[in-house]
């Protein structure tokens, strides 16, 4: 029984921030009240002095606390990393559609920091008693955030789990596990492979896309991708129509 944010912009308070892998951080922010958020939805953060807000998938949401798992990239994430417990953080959202959760045997595929929404999704599926398996690829052991629960791990250097890209194992896993639906988040090569493999095996896929965003609410048309809709090529915004798309609909450039 959570309330919905009426005005989707908020000065939240940093409740906790910690380094959870060699390159990633978990920041938990206290909004002061609870908010409904679907796995796959994102929030966008104002980063001191930067023109564009930075979008991040929600990693966790319980009571008043929204968690974000993020990797350090440039100025924006460097700013967020520099925040300390008690600091204020300017958050807008939640935005986007989120995953359309099906009561079906689910394979969850993450890769790198794409693990963030997949982990949220897994926890949600678990709570709903939907059978699922979360697999994810990383560069190496030290890249794996300590705050995630994975069913299977793949690393490029074999430092933990299976060695090699998660993509190399996907066909086998699908045959072994036999999922009815695949959810995925990660670099576009991963998403494209998942979408393709879904078509091959005739399994539904839902993939969480990324695109540079300005408004985050479908207004500026900056984050548009092409999808097939009713047999025609159409524009769709990652921020509002997505970020989650039916893998079979996305047209890859």
């Amino acid at each position: 029984m959570t309330l919905t944010l009426t005005k989707k912009i908020h000065k939240a308070k940093v409740y906790n921030i910690e380094k959870v892998s060699v390159s990633s951080y978990l920041i938990e922010t206290d909004l002061g009240f609870p908010v409904d958020i679907l796995p796959g939805q994102f929030i966008s953060i104002y980063c001191d002095g930067l023109t564009l807000r930075r979008p991040f998938s929600v990693f966790s949401n319980s009571k008043n606390i929204i968690g974000i798992l993020f990797k350090e990239r440039g100025k924006g994430t460097n700013y967020i990393k520099s925040l300390r417990k008690g600091d204020f953080i300017d958050i807008a959202g939640p935005f986007g559609n989120g995953f359309d959760i099906k009561e079906s045997k689910s394979l969850l595929v993450g890769a790198g920091i794409g693990i963030a929404p997949m982990s949220f999704l897994k926890n949600t599926l678990d709570k709903m008693n939907i059978e699922n398996m979360l697999i994810s690829g990383f560069l190496n052991k030290s890249e794996i955030p300590s705050c995630v629960n994975l069913d299977k791990i793949y690393t490029d250097d074999g430092s933990i789990g299976e060695k090699g890209s998660v993509l190399n194992y996907l066909g086998q896993i699908i045959q072994d596990y036999n999922p009815e639906i695949i959810y995925a988040c990660g670099p576009s090569v991963v998403l494209k492979t998942v979408a393709d493999i879904g078509k091959t095996f005739d399994i539904k896929t839902q993939i969480a896309m990324e695109k540079v965003m300005a408004c985050g609410i479908g207004v500026c048309r900056g984050c548009v991708i092409n999808i097939m809709k009713d047999g025609k090529v159409a524009n769709a915004t990652v921020c509002k129509d997505g970020p989650v798309f039916d893998g079979s609909e996305v047209i890859w450039l």
């Binding site: 023109t51 564009l52 300005a214 408004c215 609410i217 900056g222």
Partner: protein, 308 residues
């Protein structure tokens, strides 16, 4: 017509606005998408995304990038087209007591004419001509960069459209004054300045001795363009006698006061809406407080003092 009661009420030579703060075309949608953040009816007006006769798919590839002092966009005028706007968006806008100005864009004079006829028939109170679109007839040149093309365009629209006609000027010209004068002579009720500056950005990523390049050429907006916008408004205010709507890099109340001092009668907020989705309403409130706190009678007295 509304009775002027609020100290922010602004009369732009006939166009009465609740206050002089609007949101700029392309940054606020068509409708009331920002209602998740603010009470949109508190704004002076919202200007719609440019609307063309037929829907447009916009540009392929990367459309936005951040720069150190703003952003570059090459949306390519993606929009739903006038028909869909009228059916889907207009009724909602009207039902909500939101002041709006329709920004229109064409590739030929005939397209502009047709658009303005529709706006006239549908009793749209105010339109803003986006003249930064390439003029199909004259090749790659934009209407807004040539005073003769612009005169012809505005004059043709003026014949068809009796409402409040704003011409939005591009800064990518040798003399913005000449272009502004052409718009005025052709019968514009006001000009707005400025549209985005021509700009490019190349982001580089070195991978195994080869560079991955992300190049984007388009319209530069945000706080880095404010000095250019203030300069344009200042120069226009010396030659025009129709109202000027100032646009470009506005982020704070100080910026708005600077535009008034330069000669603007109203302003539009663009890129800053992305950074702070509630900024436009905040600025309306701040402006009101500023006037009261400093003992000015109303917005008109404040503007008078700023121009003295």
């Amino acid at each position: 017509m509304a009775v002027i009661t609020d100290i922010l009420n602004t009369d732009l030579n006939g166009l009465i606005l609740k206050n002089p703060i609007m949101t700029a075309s392309g940054t606020y949608g068509y409708n009331s998408e920002y209602e998740d953040f603010i009470d949109v009816s508190n704004l002076g007006a919202i200007v719609t995304k440019a609307i063309s006769l037929r829907p447009r798919a916009g540009n392929k590839n990367i459309r936005i990038t951040e720069t150190k002092a703003g952003m570059i966009n090459s949306i390519g005028l993606e929009n739903v087209g006038i028909d869909k706007f009228l059916t889907d968006k207009l009724t909602v806008l009207k039902s909500k007591n939101i002041n709006f100005i329709v920004n229109i864009a064409g590739s030929t004079i005939d397209e502009y004419i047709e658009l303005s006829k529709i706006c006239e028939t549908r009793k749209i109170k105010a339109i803003e001509l986006n003249v930064s679109c390439p003029n199909v007839k004259s090749g790659c040149l934009e209407f807004g960069t040539d005073e003769n093309s612009l005169y012809e365009l505005v004059n043709s629209v003026r014949q068809e459209y009796k409402g409040f006609l704003i011409v939005k000027l591009t800064p990518n010209v040798t003399s913005v004054e000449k272009i502004g004068l052409a718009a005025q002579k052709a019968g514009a009720d006001a000009v707005s300045a400025i549209n985005t500056l021509k700009g490019s950005s190349i982001k580089l990523n070195l991978i195994n001795g080869k560079f991955q390049k992300t190049t984007i050429s388009g319209g530069y907006s945000g706080y880095g363009i404010k000095p250019v916008a203030i300069g344009a408004v200042l120069r226009l205010s010396k030659v025009l006698n129709i109202p000027i709507i100032g646009i470009g890099g506005i982020e704070t109340l100080e910026d708005i006061l600077e535009f008034f001092a330069a000669g603007a009668n109203a302003v539009q907020i663009g890129t800053a809406n992305f950074t702070h989705p509630d900024i436009a309403e905040k600025l309306v409130l701040e402006l009101k407080e500023y006037i009261i706190k400093n003992g000015f009678k109303d917005i008109n007295e404040l503007k008078k003092e700023l121009r003295a």
